[in-house]
Symmetry: C2
Subunit: 336 residues, 2 copies
């Protein structure tokens, strides 16, 4: 009798423990944002998805109108010590240098080839434009795609030694997947070059080329013996930054987003462009974690998060995501 | 016994007839292109869909790469007696005339207001550009969308008296639906204005705004007391015609189409831009049915199907769709 009761109790306990374990696992599995700490940012995302996708909700939004837009540099992947596309351009300058002996005595190339990036970039936007034009133009779109694919598959981040596609933010990958699973169409709206992003956004973010909006140079249609090509010309066609973001969203998407994520002054107008007469999500990633990533704000030259932006976020009720407090994990390669 | 056998036979016959009726109906239901006559055009479309979507086919194409592009004027809807967007512009000139007394003595407006469209358009592209700019610019994108929606809901075609959205080609609606049901993403690639099409392409063609590429005027971002707006400026931003079509496809879609449908010289480069190293569908609608629609070709001022285009179609194996022979029905409002 006693033995019987012990066995019964043991079985009961095992069942209870197993049940608890199962429940805990189920709970973990159903959390769509496991890399986010519980807090106002995570709660805002979940509440927004629930209210817009619940057919019983008075704020239900038809799937066709569920548009979400994301800045890329500093929002979906890192942007320090400089924009990754600039690191790509510097690598291209080195690779092309043997064909350009004149670069040895011509700025900004001379300094670059000596490894003095700061001096090369001291020429400001003009220097950057010159570097971009020699590294991004003068080839077909197909050739450029091949160059980007080769680089992104092998080049390493200068301080972490990781592939650049490993430098994406795990919590943002979860937001992309969560929104997509709930019928949202995610678009990248980046100041970066559109054809620098498209070769890898589908495999890394699940965002196909036709949902990528970025800055562009002009292309010209030419027929060759091997068929038609689009040549990349050394002329800017569109800068997808600041007021260019709503302009690009309108030109390419033709609907205003319900959710927009950015991290700098360049994203202000995109967040403003989210209509306020229906459910909305306007979020800014704040780089405030010097230990796990970087801490920079108004003093930064890239990805500037000015005091004015912070003031507008507070005044308009935009949500500031603290990487330090809101993100349990920043990169997928971190142990956890 | 005899009676019994008759009943048996009758039942058998009824069953047979019912079965035949059911089979016929099922066959009709499974024909995805009921408004097409059996012929090379219809067979080319069906063969293309079968070969690209059958997972057992060596030419199977993943859904993400199934991109189809369609010209609009003369391909998806009619374009006679003149482009419908021009009719829209003429209606706008009449509506705006009371606010512009100077138009009474200023061409091309003076002739237009007297009802002499030919004289007004004698000024060529410059006259058309002037008309477009006063009727399409100087308002917000939202205001323009409202104007287009009002017009498209009420304006009637000058000869048929039908709504313009009734002037779409029934066989092409079937192609759009058939491709969509087979995982293709359909895009409009039109020389027409992008914001003239977007307000109605989703309900009429099942093509959402983000899958519409067209000619554009510039927009500028402005903040107002009621929130931000995009003002439509009197400056051309992009002409999505001829070589502009592959340029626009690349800028906005970022993939080359596998299927392309056009009807004029303005579509030549779009059809060339379809890669030839995989299954493809390159089709030109030929307006050769003076009885049921219109017959026009190289002599036409709009939608020109030149002899050179016909020669290239033959040389490169593009399929010419004869509206007269290939289409059982042209418009949905026809009795059948």
């Amino acid at each position: 009798m006693r033995f019987g009761r012990d066995v019964y109790r043991a079985c009961h306990l095992i069942g209870l423990i197993a049940g608890l374990a199962w429940a805990t696992q189920a709970l973990a599995q159903t959390d769509p944002l496991p890399s986010w700490n519980d807090g106002p940012a995570k709660r805002a995302i979940v509440a927004f998805v629930n209210i817009t996708t619940d057919t019983a909700s008075p704020k239900f939004v038809p799937p066709a109108e569920r548009i979400a837009t994301f800045d890329n540099d500093g929002t979906l992947w890192a942007e320090q010590p400089m924009y990754f596309q600039l690191l790509f351009a510097l690598d291209r300058v080195k690779a092309l240098a043997p064909q350009h002996p004149e670069w040895k005595s011509k700025e900004p190339f001379a300094s670059l080839l000596k490894g003095d990036v700061n001096k090369a970039l001291a020429g400001g936007e003009k220097a950057i434009a010159e570097i971009v034009m020699v590294t991004h133009a003068g080839m077909t779109t197909e050739q450029f795609e091949g160059i980007v694919k080769d680089w992104i598959a092998t080049a390493k981040h200068p301080t972490t030694g990781k592939l650049f596609t490993d430098m994406v933010y795990q919590p943002m990958l979860e937001v992309l997947a969560y929104l997509r699973a709930n019928g949202f169409k995610n678009f990248i709206i980046s100041g970066g070059g559109i054809e620098f992003m498209r070769p890898w956004t589908e495999s890394v973010y699940g965002i196909p080329p036709e949902q990528v909006v970025g800055s562009r140079i002009k292309t010209s249609y030419q027929t060759t013996a091997d068929g038609p090509v689009l040549m990349r010309e050394a002329e800017v066609d569109f800068i997808d930054d600041k007021t260019g973001k709503p302009v690009g969203i309108n030109a390419i998407i033709g609907r205003r987003p319900m959710a927009a994520f950015g991290n700098s002054d360049g994203d202000l107008q995109m967040l403003e462009w989210v209509p306020t007469d229906r459910p909305r999500l306007r979020m800014l990633v704040h780089h405030d974690d010097a230990t796990r990533e970087y801490a920079y704000g108004a003093e930064s030259h890239i990805g500037t998060f000015s005091d004015a932006l912070m003031a507008q976020a507070r005044a308009d009720g935009w949500t500031v995501i603290s990487m330090k407090n809101d993100w349990k994990r920043i990169f997928g390669f971190e142990s956890h």
